[in-house]
Amino acid sequence: MKYKSVFDIIGPVMIGPSSSHTAGAARIGRVARSLFGREPKWAKISLYESFAKTYRGHGTDVAIVGGLLDFDTDDKRIIKALEIAKEHNIQYEFIEESAVAEHPNTARIIIGDENGELELVGISIGGGKIEITELNGFHLKLSGHHPAILVVHNDRFGVIASVSNILGSHEINIGHMEVSRKEIGKMALMTIEVDQNINESIIEEISKLPNITQVARVVD
């Protein structure tokens, strides 16, 4: 079941005009920001299908940039997000893609600064609910509605167990977990949705484990 809570239906409280094109778009931008861990210096945003055709009218552009600035769906600053991004010296670019996407409301966001970059694909499935379907080339399924951590690691035995042991020792319950890899024995990604927020010390503990390359946190 894609929708689990009544507040997915009666909600979110948001700035209009479209739950999928404005609120959902803001949420996709905010997940990208949260995974990147800081304000990006530049952003390339590709829009597909209904997003590409109607983004100006719906404020999808404004909303994604608002999300990149860490604004929530009901934050009135979303309306002025493009101006605020300019004040922060963030370079942004929108690309209207003509390719057919898996979902009619799809955005590919590439953000970065001098220290790194991140590429993410998000879909807005209706009523403001979103899913992250791709991160740095990995396919995944992340709702963005629960606290989650993403762990990039080497594809070796025992790595998954060692990460879940640490979560278990801090009494953090895993609600949903997915592992994907590009090739056997190479780089892999764990997507772990949990019930409680994970604090920085736990992230550090996981980062120190053998075969772990990167740990990113998505706070609810």
């Binding site: 894609k2 009544v6 009666i10 209009g16 739950s19 209904s50 109607t54 009218g57 403001g128």
Partner: protein, 295 residues
């Protein structure tokens, strides 16, 4: 977790509870939160809805200038007393319009189930409030009942115009509202389901064809008629009229119709009203040039 309307109605009737209560209990179980927290969150949503209705009734205009002010016109017309249909129904229509006008003006609203269809549920709620004089608690329950039916639609069909057309947005919203009106008026859980089925049947096939891609034309007036549809269907269900096609099958039909709908009629602003000469000229006026290729 209830998967469909028939399970939802069965749960309510065997436990002798209202639909709203089943929804509250499920939310407590799924999210592991207390009743108090859940009710408080819904109460906040209700406040957002009330503020949007009040703001819209005072009058707003969207940035494009395409919509705004119709809720005021209708309220003034009701006050003159010369209306033909009925006071409660027109009040519901004007309050649905009010909410969507605020949405179009980039105001704050609560999606029910989406922003484009955010007018129907609060519009009908604040209109029947004057007639039924519910307590605040009953008004919050109205939103849980709406949410329960919307939850089934979202999981079994769609609530996205881009995926399923306007039938998935205003159609779902109107069905949700009809069911909640029935509960508030003292109807049974089965009657709630009948009202939802009757409403949605009359919204099947509705396409999503926004002029210039804006959630304004025809969205605002579709919310108006969604509210009217919900009010009439609620009265029909309360009168004992049933739908020959069960509610779950209507929802399934809506899903399949959405899948068969061409892309041009699913929120791309390429077909329908968006592609009319006036639709295109409004688009050109707002954006300087026609953004979307002509057919």
């Amino acid at each position: 977790m209830f998967k469909n309307v028939s399970e939802l109605v069965h749960l309510a009737e065997t436990q002798n509870k209202q639909i709203s209560e089943i929804m509250i209990e499920q939310e407590m179980e799924v999210t592991n939160r207390s009743r108090k927290e859940i009710i408080a969150q819904m109460d906040k949503n209700l406040t957002v809805m009330e503020e949007a209705v009040e703001r819209g009734i005072r009058g707003v205009t969207s940035h494009s200038g395409l919509t705004g002010g119709d809720a005021v016109l209708l309220q003034n017309y009701i006050k003159k007393g010369s209306f033909l249909s009925g006071e409660t129904i027109l009040d519901a229509v004007s309050k649905a319009v009010a909410t969507n006008e605020v949405n179009a003006a980039m105001g704050t609203i609560c999606a029910t189930p989406t922003a484009g269809s955010a007018g129907v549920v609060p519009g009908t709620l604040f209109a029947v409030r004057d007639k039924l004089q519910p307590t605040r608690e009953q008004m919050v329950k109205f939103l849980f009942t709406s949410g329960a039916f919307g939850f089934v639609v979202a999981n079994n069909a769609s609530i996205s115009g881009a995926a399923g057309g306007c039938q998935a947005e205003v159609g779902s919203a109107a069905g949700m509202a009809a069911a909640a009106i029935v509960e508030m008026a003292g109807g049974t859980p089965s009657q709630c389901a009948e009202a939802m089925a009757i409403t949605l049947k009359n919204m099947l096939g509705l396409v999503c064809d926004p002029v210039a891609g804006l959630v304004e034309v025809p969205c605002v007036k579709r919310n108006a008629m969604g509210a009217a549809n919900a009010m009439v269907a609620a009265d029909m269900a309360l009168a004992g009229i049933t739908s020959r096609i069960p509610c779950d099958e209507v929802i399934d039909a809506m899903f399949k119709i959405g899948q068969q709908m061409p892309r041009s009629l699913r929120e791309t602003a390429e077909g329908g009203l968006a592609a009319t000469p006036t639709g295109r000229s409004l688009e050109a006026k707002i954006f300087g040039v026609p953004r979307v290729k002509r057919d």
